[in-house]
Every structure is written in C-alpha cells, then in structure tokens.
Amino acid sequence: MPGADELDIDHVAALARLALTPEEKSNFSRQLGGVLQHIEQLRKVDVTGVEPTAHAFPVVNVWADDVARPGLTTAAALRNAPAQRQNLVVVPKVVE
C-alpha cells in the first residue's frame, strides 16, 4: 500500500474537478494524511484469494423492458437549470 505522504493534492483536486484554496489544500493534506495513516492497517489483512464484494446482495443483469413510459416534461427537466434559453441549457463554449 502506498505511503500516506503520497497524496498529491493538486493532482487529485484536478481529477476531482475541485478548485481548492491554498488553505484547503494544506488542511486536507494534513487531515487526510492522518486518515490514510489509519487506513495503512488494512495491510495487515491477508486477502489472498478473497473475492471483492461490491454489493452485499449482488443482483446481476437487471433488465428493464424496452417500453416507452412517461418522463419529465421539458419544463420540468429545465426547472433547475442554472441558465436556459429556447428550451436548452446554456453552457460555456466548448469548441473554438
């Protein structure tokens, strides 16, 4: 398991799309360093040959019938949009 001091806060914040202040970076690095140090003890567990559990009661291949059913109206779907115009969500330009 990697060392607790390896958390590169700038890299992880970029991956998480989270703009952190210098103060947050320093606080989180220190606090999460402590948490990661605690987590180190998982190294003690012998997990050789143990299958991972993703869900306590795995239900697999849950299919829904391919049948149209009523959904949200355009007005309801747009009700919480931070910016909208002509029944569309307005977003910053993503192509030059």
Partner: protein
C-alpha cells in the same frame, strides 16, 4: 385513560393515533395542526427543519379526513404526519441535502418511498436537516446551520440524519424518515432517545434518495416505538424496478410478527464491540440489557467478529470512492449551483463545485478520488472490497450460532457542538454501526437508558438479512419491559 392517551398529541405513537383517527376521536387536520403548533414553539431552538410547507401539510390532512369520511381511508398511516430527511425527493418541494449546491433545487419527481407514503395516506411534512450530503455524525456539517439535541441543546443530535431524530424527539413529527450509509439512522436515534431502523440493503428502494455511497445507502424509519417502526416499514419495504439493486424479498406482516414475539431466543454478544473508547455508562446499559435478555430465558453467547477493527478503514475507502463518483454529477451544468465567475467549461466545473460543496464533502471527494486513481486502485479500493467480504463472512458465521447480535449503537452519548473538530475523531463515532452497512444487514437502535447527565443511550440489535420481523420482535421484547422510550425531553 392510558398513559399513551394522556400524552400530548404531538408525542403520541402512530399506533395510538391510527386508532384515534379510526375511532373519529381526532381528525387528521387537528393532528397536523398540533404538530405544526409544537414545531412553531420549539424549532427555533432545535432547528431540525430545513423547510416546511404548513399549508401543503394541512391540505394533505384535510384530504385524509375527506377520505375517511367517505369510508376510503387507506390504512393505519392515513393522516399521520411523517417528516423526511432532506435527501428524499418530494415532487414540487425543495431538496437541498443541506448543501449550498442544491440550495434552490426543487424535486421534479417523488422518491419511491414518498409514492408509497402517499399511497398509504401519510401526510408528508417538512424537510429535515442533515450533515451535507449525509456526510457526518453530528449534523454540524449542514450549510444551513447545526441542529440541536432536544435533550441538551448544547449537544449534537448525531448524524447524518440528525434533523430526523431531533424532530421526533422534540415532538415535531409523529415519525420521520432518514437514510443510513454508516450509521446515519441508528446513531442519531441513540443520541436522541428514539427508535431508528436501518433495513437490509435492498429491502427499501433508493429511487429518489440523493446518492452518497450506493452500495451502502438505505432509507429507514425513525419512530417512538418498535411497533411504529414495523408499521412504517410495512409501507416502505418492497421491490422497486426503478432501483436496480432492489431485492425481491418476501414482505411479511411486520406488525403482526412483531406483536407475536420472537421465534428464536439466541443472542450473540460480539466481544470486539466492547473495546477501548466505550463510555462506561453506555457499557453498563448494554450489560444491563444482556442481563435482561438472559433473565427472560434467552441463550446468551459471546461471539467474535474478528475483522471489526478493519471496518472503519474499509468503510472510509468504499464510501468515499462511491461518493466521489456519485457527486461527479454536481457540475453546475444542468442543475445545482453554477459559479458566476468561471471562464471556460473546466473552470465552471471546478469553481461551481468549490463554491457549492462544504469542507467535509470536499475532503471525502478528495479521498475517494485518490483511492480510485490510477496506481492506487488495487492498493486501496480493491483491497477494501476484499476486506468487506471478510467482514461480511464474520457476521454470517456468527449467525450460525445466534439469531441476533446486541451491541452499543454508539461508543458515547451525544457530544457537545464543536467537540469533534478532527475528522478522524468524528469518523470513530461510527465504529459500531458501519460493519452492518458493509455486510448489508438490518439493525435497529432502541432507547436503552440514560446517563447520569440525562442523555439517552442507544442499544443496537443486528439481525439476519431480510429478517426484519424477527429483529423487531427481539427489540420489542426489551422495549415492553422498559419505559425509556416514554420519557420526553424538557423543551
């Protein structure tokens, strides 16, 4: 007149009120008005509610009365005010998760549990405060201010469903719903002296519940008695095609099963749940409960859950990993907070999230992103999932010998606001509750006494998967011989 009948309306049980409504002694509007009056009188001190719509609740109550006069009452919950943790969607009502991110969000649809409550005639009453996005154990992490424990306003109500527990303890609802990812129903129930049930994973639909950690989250009831929990679970439980992890389990008549009493009488005491850090008054209450069951003729066995010491770390890897993924949807584009100072789209994501989320949510997103990131996934996330298998096996092995486990719900009674400033100290509050979520088991916290200082103590009973009826019957066995659940705070 019985003690329950003599209690103020806002402190009566679902069972009592259902009988009184059916007998015509009380109308749903009178009941709702009594709860509104009580809430107006105490909530400026308790601060359990994020929002409430009195006119809407009274209109629902009037509709309930109209159904009843027409002979069309929809069952025992018809006309009973049930308030909801502010992570459960009610169409046309605010849904904030106690976050600035969703401060102005209005639910476009009903959660499945809300649909079921409506079909049962319950009056949907108010949105209750929580730790932002259900991340915390004290309800101090709310963007809208902390909730106060009705038993001692200087103390926390627990969390993350602190508003749900406090509102019920203060008489501001007849029952409430919360959600439990690592103890978020049971620990606040313990801190506030009420009953809190976390159902088996998959018994209750998660559709319309704001996601925190999807493999752990469950919706469940807060009530004044175990019988009330059975009545509310009856409405909530059942398969839902809209939740792909919903389980197809047989749903018994919980209330009848609970009132009939437990069928088996073998109780396990996991030795790892009585270690260092357990408050002596809490330990004494649990020991007294063990003695009670023994005196009732139960077979008491010490059992071992050897991987208990790894539950906390396993939980904080899995829960934060799932949270970092679930909360990626809050990007400022289609709904939620959008930064007004961003240039390009990446900056819009980064700033909207920075402005919308509070410190604990950011911390957990960072941790979850880290444990899932390239190069660390196997060391952290995969390993935690493997340890999760071992934790689950521990419980299943114990159930070869016993039918239920009895433990403290929380290592300590309610602590003071600001007392757990260090995140790790706060995380350690959950050590007796998180194993249950990792294993997907049902568990209940019931009132089990009071400290010298007058703070409630919670007992946790953990059952077999999808055997809620047996678990509730076991809990009621204790409840019927004690009166802790009938005590009320001085407010």
């Amino acid at each position: 007149m019985s003690a329950a009948m003599a209690a103020e309306i806002h402190y009566q049980t679902i069972a009592t009120l259902a009988a009184r409504l059916a007998a015509g002694e009380l109308s749903a509007v009178e009941l709702m008005q009594a709860v509104i009056d009580r809430t107006r009188a105490v909530d400026d001190r308790v601060r359990a509610f994020n929002s409430r719509d009195e006119a809407d609740a009274l209109a629902q109550a009037a509709a309930s009365d109209a159904r009843r006069s027409a002979g069309e009452a929809m069952g025992p919950l018809d006309g009973i005010p049930v308030a909801l943790k502010d992570v459960i969607a009610v169409e046309g009502q605010p849904l904030t998760a106690s976050s600035r991110m969703l401060a102005d969000f209005v639910s476009p649809y009903d959660a499945t549990v809300v649909k079921k409550l409506r079909q049962a005639g319950a009056v949907l009453w108010g949105r209750l405060n929580l730790d932002e996005f259900a991340m915390g154990s004290s309800t101090e992490n709310s963007a809208f201010g902390a909730t106060h424990n009705p038993w001692d306003l200087s103390r926390v109500p627990g969390g993350s469903s602190g508003g749900s527990a406090a509102a019920l303890a203060a008489g501001e609802a007849i029952a409430t719903l919360g959600s439990d990812t690592g103890g978020s129903i049971r620990q606040p129930a313990a801190f506030c002296g009420v009953v809190g049930l976390k159902p088996s994973y998959g018994l209750v639909s998660r559709y319309g519940l704001i996601a925190f950690a999807s493999s752990l989250d469950q919706v469940g009831p807060f009530t004044r008695t175990v019988e009330d929990a059975a009545m509310l679970l009856q409405v909530l439980a059942g398969h839902d095609p809209l939740d792909s992890t919903s389980f197809t389990a047989e749903i018994p008549d919980y209330r009848a099963a609970v009132c009939a009493g437990p069928r088996s009488r073998r109780l396990g005491i996991p030795k790892e749940y009585f270690g260092a850090g357990l408050d002596p008054e809490v330990a004494a209450a649990v020991r007294a409960a063990i003695a009670f069951y023994a005196a009732q003729g139960w077979e008491i066995q010490e059992v071992s859950l050897p991987h208990t010491e790894f539950c906390l770390d396993t939980y904080y890897i899995i829960a934060t990993a799932e949270a970092s993924s679930n909360l990626a949807r809050y990007d400022g584009i289609r709904y939620g907070h959008r930064s007004q100072s961003a240039g390009d789209v990446t900056e819009l994501y980064e700033k909207s999230r920075a402005e919308g989320f509070g410190a604990e949510v950011k911390r957990r997103i960072i941790l979850g992103t880290y444990v899932l990131s390239s190069g660390y996934y196997d060391a952290y996330y995969r390993r935690a999932q493997q340890v999760r298998t071992l934790i689950r096996s521990d419980f299943l092995r114990a159930y070869e010998q016993v039918d239920a486990l009895l433990t403290p719900t929380s290592p300590m009674p309610a602590f003071r606001h600001g007392e757990k400033a260090d995140p790790l100290a706060m995380y350690l509050c959950d050590i007796y509750t998180i194993g249950v979520n990792l294993a997907g088991l049902p568990a209940i916290s019931i009132p089990g006494g009071f400290t010298q200082a007058g703070l409630p103590i919670g007992l946790q009973l953990i059952g077999r998967p999808f055997r809620e009826a047996e678990l509730l019957a076991t809990a009621r066995n204790y409840e019927q011989a004690h009166d802790w659940h009938q005590r009320r705070p001085n407010l």
